[in-house]
């Protein structure tokens, strides 16, 4: 049951990043229609870097832990770095070789690759971030 290890459970319960942000540059909603999971991601960017990031929503342990791990990892990163991180997250869930040092703590969920049905739970926050950044780039 290493998908439900103590550390992942702790990340799922983390309250630090779970809040509304009133001065966000963009707010992006994401949903997994098949399971009802929803996320609302608040993003603030300064000088090409993520200055703050928070989320609201409900979902399973996998989706909640993934959102918290994601925020912890990408805060303060440049948008360019985040693209590289996103690429490596994709590789990680697909079971391909990826840069573990780059993903840092995110790799505690590496085992998600053994559960294809749960990958979409894991990816919800990441896809929403990707969409939010696309929107910011377009502005």
């Amino acid at each position: 049951m290493n998908l439900y290890s103590e550390i992942i459970m702790d990340y799922a319960k983390l309250k630090k990043y779970k809040k509304k942000m009133n001065d966000a540059d963009t707010v992006k909603e994401g949903a997994n229609l098949s399971c009802g999971d929803e996320i609302k991601l608040y993003v603030k960017v300064r000088d090409g870097k993520i200055e703050s990031l928070s989320f609201e929503g409900k979902g399973c342990i996998v989706s909640q832990a993934s959102a918290n791990l994601m925020i912890e990892r990408v805060l303060g990163e440049s948008l360019e770095n985040i693209h590289e991180i996103l690429e490596n997250v994709e590789k990680m869930v697909k079971g391909e070789e990826y840069d573990k040092n780059l993903l840092k703590n995110v790799s505690i969920m590496e085992n998600i690759r053994s559960y294809p049905n749960r990958v979409k739970c894991f990816m919800l926050a990441w896809r929403t971030l990707e969409n939010a950044l696309k929107e910011l780039n377009m502005d």
């Binding site: 009802g36 342990i61 749960r118």
Partner: protein
């Protein structure tokens, strides 16, 4: 019924999941297949296979006879005549065929009214809703005012004066397991065309379409031990004869000229293209298997398990149960655990106990909204669903209850 004896007919029940014996409680999604059904497919493909109709050679004749035998068996199963039995790919195509044919035939038109419920599976909801956008008929919705998504007979009564042209309702909800009283609905809407989505009803009980005076009944083979990709559309002959086909193509035609086309007789008029011969043969074998057990036996067994499970689950104070929880609930139990998301519940049950349940919105998003408004939990827009069939036992229910206690202990927040 002795489910332990039936066990030997279902080889898949012997397999292990994560090292545990499989406990399969996902029967509302699809049922497992007995050996006789799989062998009927094998026998067909190995020894009698050909395309049906119009063939002169021996195999074509044998294949055609097998298809028409299957049709007669299904007709007997429902007390219909063979020409009223249309083979489709499943309930979804059956319902789409009915809705599209009714509008194409002008039977359902601008200012007509269609009465649905908000507990329908999307398959009996989206076709009517989308076609209403093009053909401008009016949709009426009976909403459940009973316990946690349960529909009361009063919820229908208020629409009698509307005189809907079509009443399209589920025979049994795939989320709450509630059986609607089709008999009462028929009496209330005597003049309406009555469409019954029997996907969760036909596998559980003997249906007599004549006695219930149904205009249309649809169901899927794979939810009653048959193969996937085969289903049935029963329609009253007088109605089917008046209706324009939904799909056009081979076999459904009579005479084709450059100017126009006339159609084949029933039921072929509604079966364009090469039919799913193997599916039909397998479905007929599944129906025979169920009749050998006895549909009353099947029904009693499933009801007994459902009542037992409701009773046991009610003892768990961290479980919220949906549906009526009364004599109308058959075969399906939807629930949530306080503080644990359904996906985590299902994952944990599978990995630690080999128990298969389904989670999600069960293709019934309008009903999820209804449950959300009544839930005392932080409702996750999804539920866990355990559903039973002939091979399930009380031991399976006990395993589920034990499993849920463990889930709560490990994952409960």
């Amino acid at each position: 019924m002795n489910s332990k004896i039936l066990y030997k007919d279902f080889p898949i029940l012997d397999r292990k999941v994560h090292g545990k014996k499989l406990i399969y409680l996902d029967n509302a999604a699809t049922t497992l297949k007995p050996k006789v059904v799989v062998e009927s497919l094998k026998d067909l493909y190995y020894f009698h296979y050909s395309n049906v109709h119009r063939g002169i050679h021996t195999l074509a004749t044998e294949a055609t006879n097998l298809l028409e035998d299957a049709r007669r068996k299904i007709a007997n199963f429902l007390n219909a005549s063979p020409e009223e039995i249309i083979f489709t790919s499943g309930s979804t195509l059956s319902l789409n065929t009915i809705a599209h044919s009714l509008v194409k035939s002008g039977i359902l038109k601008e200012d007509s009214k269609v009465l649905l419920t908000t507990v329908e599976h999307h398959a009996n909801f989206v076709p009517w809703q989308r076609l209403s956008k093009i053909y401008n008929y009016k949709l009426l919705y009976a909403k459940p005012t009973g316990r946690m998504g349960a529909i009361l007979i009063e919820d229908f009564e208020k629409f009698i004066k509307e005189e809907p042209n079509v009443v399209a309702v589920t025979g049994a909800s795939n989320v709450t397991g509630q059986r609607l009283s089709i008999r009462r609905i028929r009496e209330m809407f005597e003049k309406s065309i009555l469409v019954v989505d029997g996907a969760q009803l036909v596998p559980h009980t003997k249906i007599n379409v004549k006695e219930l005076d149904l205009d249309f009944l649809v169901f899927s083979g794979h939810k009653m031990l048959g193969p996937t990709g085969i289903g049935v559309l029963y329609g009253k002959k007088e109605l089917l004869e008046k209706m324009e086909p939904f799909l056009y193509g081979g076999e459904m035609i009579d005479k084709v000229t450059l100017e126009d086309t006339t159609f084949n007789i029933l039921p072929y008029k509604f079966e364009a293209g090469t039919p799913n011969l193997a599916g039909a043969v397998g479905l007929a074998k599944a129906a025979e298997y169920l009749e050998n057990i006895g549909m009353d036996e099947v029904e009693n067994h499933i009801k007994e398990l459902t009542d037992y499970a409701i009773n046991e689950l009610m003892k768990l104070d961290f479980v919220e149960l949906y549906g009526p929880l009364d004599e109308t609930q058959y075969g399906i139990i939807s629930f949530n655990l306080d503080g644990v998301h359904p996906h985590d519940v299902a994952h944990f049950l599978d990995e630690s106990f080999g128990i298969a349940i389904r989670t999600g919105h069960h293709c019934a998003q309008p009903l999820m909204m209804e449950l959300s408004s009544k839930s005392r939990l932080d409702f996750p827009n999804a539920t866990c669903r355990a559903s039973f069939y002939v091979y399930n036992t009380k031991e399976d229910v006990d395993a589920l209850v034990e499993g849920l206690k463990n889930v709560k202990r490990w994952l409960g927040r």
